[in-house]
């Protein structure tokens, strides 16, 4: 017969220190740091699950409104297919317009997700824990929305399979020397990789949802969780898989926006033919992507009562990241500008003249919201932790990055080598409606998704909490993380 051993209390049930100063300090840590604020997993699971099940009036209104926008998008696209691309404002010199700018923009938004969850995971950044899934979801739906635009853009969408590498009776395979197909391949690889990455990390949370729901939700999660029990082998393979996918998907992420920039840089169009476009586009993509993630997190926190998970510390870290990206983006833009300006080629001069001439309002607005405002405000912790301020700054960044793409695509195209072909482009109603509709589509999918899937990776939070504790250094008490990897 074995002797009965002493009972051990679980990590979330640690006693409050007797020393009053220590107790006070600990309370402070719990307020500041999500990982120190360990509750029983049953409680935190409930927060995530209740958020998922909250479908109040506001939710249905949001679904209805964004659903209308989706209908607008599909309706306008249908009309455009029936009547021809002539309904847009595109013309002979500006053959690519907001559709391509939107493609770049929405792919850009999709970049932060994987960066935050994969790259920060590899670097063992703890602030990623509660936000990684929300960020990955932005990637997933950003890419889905972006993938629409090649279809909306082309003249004969019903012949789009000519671009797919499938055998057909014409005996003709697509031309993989075309940057458009590099692009399609890279986006496919990125999208599939991100989906697998997201799904793998979702399994433990689907199992959690399976264990705490009934009815159709239970059946759904039971099927999706694939029978996850959280055994040691499953966990180790999951960690390994996440590492493998992470190391592969980060280079793929860099390649995606580089290749998107190649669509422009490979052309002999003045202003586009630039070697810096790859890194420049990556910086811009991360910049708008991180801003998008911050906006999403603010909305999630406000509407889904996720204040426990999404704390000031996360917005603080993301704010610092956003500020760094603003500097990087500004640096690349300056490079791009000064090389063009000093080169003094006539066609490129015409573009610079146009930027500071008739397009000056857009151009200066872009610089202000992308560089001046973020750099001028985000150095302050008070701004970084104030949700309204962060939201406004991020909206500004989105506007600025959208303007950047608009200036590059239809803007630069309106000036070319032969001045006879100079035209100006003004968007017409279809482009505007489709662009608005796509934002609606993105929001629609996101709203539905948050009610179907636990948007907080609860197991990652629990993991962080289980290995976070305090450590005394000299006379002070500090938080300390046990890194298991």
């Amino acid at each position: 017969m074995l002797e009965s051993r002493a009972e051990v209390r679980p990590y979330w049930d640690k006693p409050i220190p007797e020393d009053e100063a220590d107790a006070h300090e600990l309370k402070h840590f719990r307020q500041e740091d999500l990982l120190m604020d360990a509750n029983s997993p049953a409680e935190t699971n409930d927060i995530a699950l209740n958020a998922m099940k909250s479908t109040g009036l506001g939710f249905w209104m949001a679904v209805g409104f964004t659903g209308l926008l989706v209908a607008l998008l599909l309706g306008t696209w249908g009309l455009q297919i029936v009547s021809g691309l002539g309904v847009t404002g595109l013309n002979r010199s500006v053959m690519w317009g907001p559709y391509i700018a939107n493609l770049v923009f929405f792919i850009g938004i999709g970049h932060a997700g994987t960066f935050i969850s994969a790259a920060l995971r590899m670097m063992h950044m703890d602030f990623r824990r509660p936000i990684s899934r929300a960020a990955e979801t932005v990637t997933l739906f950003g890419l889905s929305a972006a993938a629409l635009f090649p279809l909306i853009h082309v003249g004969r969408v019903w012949k789009i399979y000519y671009m797919f590498p499938i055998p057909d009776e014409r005996r003709l395979w697509p031309n993989f020397r075309s940057p458009l197909l590099w692009d399609a391949t890279a986006i496919t690889a990125y999208m599939l990789g991100s989906t697998l990455f997201m799904y793998a990390a979702l399994l433990p949370d689907l199992a959690m949802a399976r264990d705490h729901t009934t009815g159709w939700r239970h059946q759904l999660y039971k099927a999706l969780a694939l029978g996850w029990r959280g055994s040691l082998g499953e966990w180790m393979r999951l960690e390994k898989l996440a590492n493998i996918l992470g190391y592969v998907i980060v280079p793929v992420m860099f390649s995606v926006h580089t290749i998107v920039s190649y669509d422009f840089a490979m052309a002999v169009q003045p202003g586009w033919h630039s070697t810096i476009f790859g890194p420049f586009f990556i910086a811009g993509a991360l910049f708008s992507g991180v801003a998008a993630v911050i906006m999403v997190l603010i909305v999630l926190r406000k509407t889904m009562r996720l204040g426990y998970f999404l704390r000031e510390q996360h917005f603080n870290s993301l704010g610092i990241f956003l500020m760094l990206l603003s500097i990087v983006w500004g640096y690349f833009y300056f490079n791009e500008w000064i090389v063009t300006w000093y080169g003094n080629l006539s066609a490129e001069q015409a573009i610079l003249k146009m930027l500071t001439g008739q397009l000056a309002p857009l151009f200066y607005l872009m610089l202000v919201v992308n560089v001046v405002i973020p750099l001028g405000t985000l150095w302050s912790r008070r701004v970084r932790t104030s949700l309204p301020a962060m939201f406004v700054i991020c909206v500004g960044v989105q506007i600025g990055m959208y303007l950047e793409r608009i200036l590059i695509v239809p803007g630069f195209l309106s000036r070319s080598e032969l001045p006879f072909n100079w035209v100006n482009y003004t968007p017409h109603l279809p482009e505007i409606l489709i662009t608005i509709g796509t934002f609606g589509l993105l929001s629609f999918l996101y709203i539905i998704w948050t009610r179907v899937v636990p948007i907080i990776p609860v197991w990652e939070v629990h993991e962080g909490q289980a290995f976070q504790s305090t450590r005394r250094v000299g006379r002070g008490l500090f938080t300390s993380h046990t890194d298991m990897h």
């Binding site: 009547s83 021809g84 691309l85 002539g86 404002g89 595109l90 013309n91 002979r92 010199s93 500006v94 053959m95 690519w96 090649p150 853009h153 082309v154 003249g155 004969r156 969408v157 012949k159 789009i160 000519y162 671009m163 014409r170 003709l172 697509p174 031309n175 020397r177 075309s178 940057p179 458009l180 197909l181 399609a184 669509d263 490979m266 052309a267 002999v268 169009q269 195209l413 070319s416 080598e417 032969l418 001045p419 006879f420 072909n421 035209v423």
Partner: protein
């Protein structure tokens, strides 16, 4: 300047700007021959004019010392065409036999990348399903596809005429003679400013006239190796 090559042709056009009067006869002839849709006034204002060959007009000098310059611009049938490799469906490719830049309408899905990448902006997109008024439909050329909406098109050096002449010559078991092929624009040019021929044929008129002291190519610095030679003697060059 006959270039040599065992097989095929190098179809070349000479545009003598000193002879060109800017009468636009070539533009009309091209529309008739190639079923080029006619853009309405509104469309032209929106920057969607459709002429496979167009007379670009530039003003030189300051008022009152102003001079009008014009230059017919059409597809330069580049040797290293920027429009070709960017097409994902091979709709735009280089015909190795005729050495012209060919557009296969039925392969085109309308990504319009070629249009962006053309420095001469001589590629045209069918924004609408083309329509012709009244009896104009009766004069459509059956040798040339009538393009649908959503498809790119451009000057082909009247490839249908080249093909027919080639087929006739093959059927009669002889070589093509210089002057047998003439695109609609060159045929219509009243001042003979447009001269067309095979640069691989040392006897052809273009080979005889090139290299000329007055010759230049449009945007030659881009390395596109156009097959169109412009001749301009007096004053300055246009468009360079």
């Amino acid at each position: 300047m006959a270039e040599t090559n065992e097989q095929g042709h190098k179809w070349t056009m000479i545009v003598d700007l000193d002879k060109c009067t800017g009468c636009n006869a070539c533009v009309v002839a091209c529309h008739a021959e190639n079923n080029v849709p006619i853009a309405s006034e509104d469309e032209v204002i929106r920057g969607r004019g459709m002429h496979w060959i167009r007379i670009e007009r530039y003003w030189e000098g300051e008022y009152p010392d102003v001079q009008a310059r014009f230059i017919p611009v059409f597809c330069q049938q580049c040797g290293n065409a920027p429009c070709e490799p960017v097409c994902p469906t091979y709709a735009s490719y280089h015909s190795t036999e005729q050495n012209v830049n060919v557009q296969v309408y039925n392969r085109c899905v309308g990504t319009r990348y070629c249009g962006n990448n053309c420095p001469y902006k001589v590629r045209f997109f069918n924004w609408w399903t083309p329509e012709w008024d009244g009896p104009l439909t009766e004069q459509l050329n059956p040798d040339v596809t009538v393009r649908s909406a959503g498809v790119m098109e451009k000057c082909t050096f009247c490839i249908q005429r080249i093909r027919r002449a080639e087929n006739d010559a093959t059927a009669q078991n002889r070589n093509l003679q210089d002057g047998e092929v003439m695109p609609a624009c060159a045929q219509a040019c009243p001042s003979r400013a447009l001269v067309f021929g095979d640069l691989y044929d040392p006897e052809s008129q273009v080979s005889q006239r090139l290299p000329a002291e007055r010759q230049f190519k449009l945007l030659e610095n881009l390395g596109t190796e156009p097959a169109v030679y412009y001749l301009k003697g007096e004053d300055t060059h246009v468009g360079e």
